[in-house]
Amino acid sequence: MSFYEFLNNHGIDYSQEQEASGGVVLSIKKEDLLACCEILKTDRLFNYDMLLSVTGMDCRTHFEILYDLYSTRSHSRLSLKIKTDRVNPNVESLYSLYSSADWHERECFDLLGIEFVNHPNLERILLPKDWIGHPLRKDYNQEDERLCWNKR
């Protein structure tokens, strides 16, 4: 059974994108993410049991989040890509499936301000707790009165 048949069987809407490195990147809907990851993780054939990274991107019109999955059984990689709005960006947390999602999602929240629903401890991880704004957004400009001692 091929990969795409498998996804079709489970009724998951996807479109394939080819990456420069030749890895498989699947664009899926935001709502399907948790279900998709669950079947990919629990399936005996594919068994993507490891989440390597969660990467957020600011594409000016929307945010993209890239999930890199890895199978320790077949040693293959798979990337899932979802899109979310710029205003009030939110997506379901993968913490219930992969515990490595914890810090990756916190980092994504920290730098891009994407809210991960049902994350157990969604707070800043890299920046100080009371930092204002999310610095990796394209429209971010740093204007914090408290940091006047660090002006150039």
Binding site: L126, L127, P128, K129, D130, W131, P135, Y140, Q142, D144, R146, L147, C148, W149, N150, R152
Partner: protein, 186 residues
Amino acid sequence: MQIIISALDYVYNWARSNSVWPLTFATSCCGIEMICTSASKYDIARFGSEVFRPSPRQADLIITAGTITHKMAPALVRLYEQMPEPKYVIAMGACTVTGGMYENDSYSVVRGVDRLIPVDVYLPGCPPRPEALLDAVIQLQKKMRTETLLDRKKYIEAHKPRVKMPEGDSELLLPCDEIEIVRWGV
């Protein structure tokens, strides 16, 4: 009286300039060069400084080896405050001298540790070679030898941190009102 003071100064300066114990503090790639400096080819032990103390209570010198970010800054200031007098600072590497390649538009990097704590020796380089760090240590020893016991109070007054520790839930350092920050160059 003057003779006694100067004799005492000589002994005091001789002793402390020859046993500068640095704090084990490395935040970035300069730390690797610092390790190299204490390893066999360059050997900082020749100057009696190989005793890298893990605890700030026993250190005389803090070598800020590497980029200092806003998140790290309170830790650095606290470590500096925990060191007993007399204490010295070597700003090692471009990042801690001016902010280095992060100077222009980084949101997270402190532009030079001299905005946080008073620096005695600036050591540019990205990262500086071990010879350069040895030179910085020697320059610091020279500086120590010029000081006297009489000026110690003035010295301690001048060696206060230039920022206030964060208050309450905040994690950001606050500017200190009393001390004016003098910046040279750009």
